[in-house]
Subunit: 153 residues, 2 copies
């Protein structure tokens, strides 16, 4: 059939899209008690590794646009998790730093990765099979960054 390639089953993207939404859903039981969302958790991960970063650095590490990250940070500031102060050398920058609450949340979030691993393995089975995807996903992501960048020229 001429249209066979159009079939949903043949699509990689649909699976990535679905798997991404479902994994985010799997974080819910752990993030809801902390009052944060998955993207907010990602921002915290970035800041827990290194506090006091400009918006741009955070956006770059999360592969997000600044116009996504800025409102995200504004909501997090409103929730008392971060502060946003003007940069000193470069006053255009906004330096994002953790508040006491943001720092303390690290302790509460400590077990989330292992909880999630357990949840995934419980219903899926093979850890090895999932681990094997990681380097492929990394290559895919790097490739797509290039592809999408080339468009915006």
């Amino acid at each position: 059939m001429e249209y066979d390639q159009l079939k949903l089953d043949n699509q990689l993207c649909f699976r990535l899209y679905t798997a991404a939404r479902l994994t985010m859903g799997a974080y819910h039981p752990y993030l809801d008690p902390l009052g944060i969302t998955y993207p907010q958790y990602l921002v915290l991960l970035v800041l827990w590794e290194q506090d006091k970063q400009p918006v741009n650095d955070i956006a770059h590490k999360l592969v997000l646009e600044t116009n996504t990250v800025t409102p995200l940070l504004q909501r997090m500031e409103k929730a008392g998790l971060v502060k946003r102060t003007k940069g000193k050398e470069d006053t255009r920058q906004r330096i994002v730093s953790l508040t006491k609450k943001g720092i303390e949340m690290r302790e509460q979030a400590k077990h989330i990765p292992e909880c999630l691993s357990a949840d995934i393995i419980k219903n899926e089975g093979s850890v090895e099979e999932i681990s094997q995807m990681i380097p492929t996903l990394d290559k895919l992501i790097e490739g797509l960054k290039q592809t999408n960048k080339q468009l915006n020229k």
Copy 2:
């Protein structure tokens, strides 16, 4: 280190989340000329395989909630791609069917899958490696469906 597991690099979900967004971005050059978004393209794929389906069936095939799909279909109706008519046996149902425009778009969209495959391969390299992810993603998705379902009990 105690917090090592928290590191962003160790997360599967972050990669899925990023890869999903970037692949959706890769569809842009092909979907923009048609005036549709990726989720709308997915709805069309479902209807091209079988026309005249209730909202629930479409939502189920896309692993989305009906409260996501309903507004999506409303926008698509507004754009003249689908019609939404009341069900005959079950009047609660809304049967979604393709309009002439929706049917004709199939021809215009015919080459999208191969274009996308080419884009992915161009910058990534190994088709085999990517293909190997598919069954793992399917298992992961099935597992997560179960995990997330168990929460809502």
